[in-house]
Symmetry: C2
Subunit: 254 residues, 2 copies
Amino acid sequence: MPQLRVPTRRERRREATYDEIVKVSAELLAEDADLSLRAVASRMGMTAPALYRYVASAQELVDLVAFELDKGATEDFRAAAERHPEDDPAARVTAAAVAFRHWALSRPREFHLVFHNPISAGESERRELLTLSTSGHFFTDLLWQIWEQTRFPFPSLDELAPAVRDAVLDPLIPAKSEHIPPEDRGLLWVYMRCWSSLYGVVTLECTGHCDPRVIESAALFKATLIDELPRLGLAGQRDRLVKILDEELSRHAT
Amino acid sequence: MPQLRVPTRRERRREATYDEIVKVSAELLAEDADLSLRAVASRMGMTAPALYRYVASAQELVDLVAFELDKGATEDFRAAAERHPEDDPAARVTAAAVAFRHWALSRPREFHLVFHNPISAGESERRELLTLSTSGHFFTDLLWQIWEQTRFPFPSLDELAPAVRDAVLDPLIPAKSEHIPPEDRGLLWVYMRCWSSLYGVVTLECTGHCDPRVIESAALFKATLIDELPRLGLAGQRDRLVKILDEELSRHAT
DNA sequence: CGTAAACGGTAAACAGTGTAAACTGCCCAC
DNA sequence: GTGGGCAGTTTACACTGTTTACCGTTTACG
């Protein structure tokens, strides 16, 4: 039975400082200023070395705010999704994907921080945080809900490459998978493929390695999403979902 | 008639210095050192401010070496492609795609520099350089060769969204398109879609937002490429190309 | 309680970074 | 041969991240 200690005064104060650090960092990012220890510290009325009581390095600070930004962005995605009925996860995921794209295009710096921040290096905390990534949980959960409705096909465990089988049985990647029985973990493969597509176009658009007019028109994004529908057993709802997709896109029109 | 001046002594010297700058920069990157004006300058036996005679800012230096890295990498892709017969562009593009992935995974810093370097900001020179991007030309050319063989379908101009139509008729994006008659420019749409897929997976794998075991096994990459075959009229050659794909992948096996 | 250790913070310093201004010497064109 | 532009240096400024030594306050404990 977990010893549920009431946090001591010091601990609370420390936690509050942590919160202020990420809050101030997010502010800086939002103001298009660059994120530096000195900038964060001075805005908090401290000096830079003091931050070393809280983070081990500048990179760790970045990782921290990246996680927090992901959490915040996910709330946007959730809000977008919840404008559609609970029993219509296909519409919800469409809205969420559009919100994801819009977030990336309107806040490229933040997007870059969260999703282009290389992880490999210090297998340390970052991997751990990433595994908790909230946006990952959010999208996988929506996908699960779609599967409950359409029962789209997914590979069985022995159809998967061994490495992939290991990966879906014991995911390092953010995915709400505990409730998925092992024999159905092939679902995660479908998730990976969809995520790869979405992440791919959005990154391409966001980094600008793509004609600006194509970005503006969202044509590539739209086509990519539409191509994923069959994979999710949504081919039959194509027209309906394209309509929703267009509506969602026009919400954010310039 | 262009006044083809013989470059003066000074001009040649200047050009040589430019070359040395990018050469030294590439060396630094290759040694996993970080690219800084001072590092580049000192290795050339100069002081940092001297470099401002050649580049207007540190960012411009980065852009310069990015372009050069792209050129160098493209030579790798070309070499990989040329291990397959000239009349088999499908095999060639497969090998090139694998080479692209391998380059990205083995030199993530360089990949990041070339392909995640945001362009939007200084619409200046960078966009111009990007339009000349050699890897873009290389891949589009291979695609064109495939089309000559398979005659895969592509959208007509009036099937394209207006913005996309403009984009394919007057590409800002690197593409060898001058030789494609305007009415066939829908081909470039297919190119964009393929490029988006390839760029997407490779970026996903390279940034590490993906299970390491999935990266190691190349399963996601493989599946993505295979899914693009129908788009290029290559569905019938699937088995043959998958075999080539596996061979190419195992060439770089760890 | 009183004391000692842990905590949270500062000041100073080091090694880097990009960049601007002033200055110097050489090469080239007229 | 002489002036002008070019290539480079020196110096300086304003920033980075990070380490060290120090200092007061807060906490925990004998």
